[in-house]
């Protein structure tokens, strides 16, 4: 589905953010990317989305080399307040990307309704984003991505700006959406609990210049549950395994 080979990126010369990152994502997987702050998680995600041209390495999406934004990809940013357009309604926001796809008006309307229903916001289509709470706005951003029917959904710290309860609800929503629509997801997060809870696999990045420290498979049963899953032995083990890698990065750590 998605392969990343020897990705390298430096914003300014000699300030290398991403040194050598290689991994792949299989269709239908949820993969989280975690790492210490400043390790270039967001840079990596932008490169995957084709929004940023990396200084080295190759990204392939569905077999094709990514040059510019590829088709079939949607993104949810952390800053829902800045990524939703305040001058148009919730419906307008979700509909806008669909207008430039070759989709009929009826299909477009159907998708808007369906995606709003999927995030449990059916009654809010005519409201403006700023009339909604933070969690609801992020759900609109997710609905916008769903209506687009992407093959791959990228999420950059999607739940970092909402309160803890909303965060748990949104995590479960994303998991449910994945199960229902079978979308492949790549999630960037700094929250280790979240990465273990949501993912099939967690990719741990080192400090910059970053490389892949480890790829941890998470084989927790699905559907997962905020309380039961997080109490499981495997959850606790995986969480501390990843936490230790991030907390004490050893210089010259061998590549996996």
């Amino acid at each position: 589905m998605l392969t990343v080979e020897h990705l390298h990126h430096a914003y300014i010369r000699e300030q290398v953010v991403t040194a050598d990152v290689t991994f792949d994502v299989r269709a239908g997987e949820i993969v989280s990317i975690v790492g210490p702050s400043g390790c270039g998680k967001t840079t990596l995600l932008k490169a995957l989305a084709g929004l940023l041209k990396p200084t080295g390495g190759i990204i392939r999406f569905q077999g094709k080399v990514v040059q510019g934004v590829p088709d079939g990809l949607a993104i949810v940013f952390q800053e829902y307040g800045r990524s939703l357009l305040p001058w148009t309604t919730v419906n307008g926001n979700i509909e806008l990307p669909l207008r430039y796809q070759s989709i009929s008006t009826d299909e477009c309307r159907r998708r808007v309704a369906e995606s709003l229903q999927a995030v449990d916001l059916s009654g809010s289509g005519e409201r403006y984003p700023w009339q909604l709470s933070g969690g609801m706005q992020q759900r609109v951003a997710i609905a916008r991505a769903l209506a687009y029917q992407p093959k791959l959904l990228l999420m950059d710290e999607p739940f970092a700006s909402v309160d803890a309860q909303t965060r748990a609800d949104l995590e479960d929503l994303v998991a449910a959406v994945r199960d229902r629509f079978g979308i492949t997801m790549v999630l960037v997060t700094h929250d280790i609990d979240e990465s273990v809870y949501l993912s099939d696999r967690v990719i741990v990045l080192s400090r910059p210049p970053s490389t892949v420290l480890a790829q941890v498979s998470i084989e927790l049963p699905r559907p997962r549950d905020q309380i039961k899953t997080k109490a499981m032995q495997q959850f606790v083990e995986k969480r501390s395994e990843i936490a230790q890698m991030i907390r004490r990065p050893v210089d010259g750590e061998p590549h996996p």
């Binding site: 800045r82 305040p86 001058w87 984003p129």
Partner: protein, 280 residues
């Protein structure tokens, strides 16, 4: 207390708060006019006629026409309306030139680097200083005056549009790019609406500038217009007429600003809403 009494009480308090808000809004203005009236009467100077006299004179100047023309006198058609048309015409040109040019410059770093020094230089020229040149090039008719108004009032619109389109939130642009919204649609659906609050601020400043420039343009080599009437009245020592013109100008500026604010509130309702939310 009976429901009747409560209802009456509520009505009373509502009426009271309406009176109160009216008093707060217009009280000072009314008080100033009253003071002016008494002071002017007491002083008895011909240079400072009392407002009642100005009002009386204004009515006979502009509202003494026949009923089928809504009582508007010839002077309204010869001076007031042409002035307003020049003002609005010049401002409309400023809007039509300022916004598209501003978008072009705001969205292109190269073009901006190319034209910015020249624009800053042109902007520094006080509009009225160009009247002699415009007179040579365009004569002394309305064309010259409209051009002057447009030239002088385009700057706030142009510069605010540049600023507004340049400072669109990169997250909005990234989102639009990720969803493969084409370039022209990004301009119409994201860049332009995002810049609207700044563009409107520029349009409002330039509307006030347009009023000033309209008067200035009519002080030179003209045969009609409110500015011309004010100057003419001063030369002929018709000081009450002169004051009438000044008050009329203030009224035009005030009403135009009010209308524009109403329009802005309607178009930018989302902006007020969004800003109100983030502030709390």
């Amino acid at each position: 207390m009976s429901t009747e009494a409560i209802r009456l009480d509520r009505w009373n308090s509502r009426a009271f708060s309406a009176i109160q808000s009216f008093a707060v809004r217009y009280g000072l203005g009314i008080a100033l006019v009253i003071v002016w009236e008494f002071a002017a009467r007491k002083a008895g100077s011909i240079f400072f006629p009392p407002p009642s006299e100005i009002l009386h004179r204004a009515a006979s100047l502009w509202l003494s026409g026949p009923p089928h023309r809504l009582f508007l006198s010839d002077s309204v058609f010869q001076d007031v309306l042409p002035s307003i048309f020049r003002l609005l015409g010049g401002w409309a040109f400023a809007v039509l030139i300022g916004i598209p040019l501003g978008i072009l410059i705001g969205r292109s770093r190269n073009l901006s680097d190319l034209v910015n020094p020249s624009l800053q230089f042109l902007r520094a020229i006080p509009g009225p200083a160009l009247i002699p040149i415009f007179m040579i090039l365009l004569g002394t008719e309305s064309t010259m005056r409209v051009t002057l108004i447009a030239f002088g009032s385009v700057w706030p619109i142009l510069l605010n549009t540049v600023e507004g389109t340049r400072t669109v939130d990169p997250v909005q642009i990234d989102t639009a790019r990720a969803f493969r919204i084409p370039r022209h649609a990004r301009l119409w659906r994201i860049v332009l609406p995002a810049a609207m609050p700044k563009i409107f601020a520029g349009m409002r400043v330039s509307l006030a500038l347009a009023v000033i420039l309209m008067v200035v343009s009519e002080l030179v080599a003209s045969t009609s217009g409110i500015g011309y009437r004010i100057q003419n009245a001063q030369i002929m020592f018709l000081l009450t007429d002169m004051w009438c013109g000044i008050i009329l100008l203030a009224l035009i500026g005030y009403v135009l600003n009010l209308l524009f604010l109403k329009f802005e509130r309607r178009v930018l309702a989302w902006h007020r809403g969004a800003r109100g939310r983030t502030a709390t």
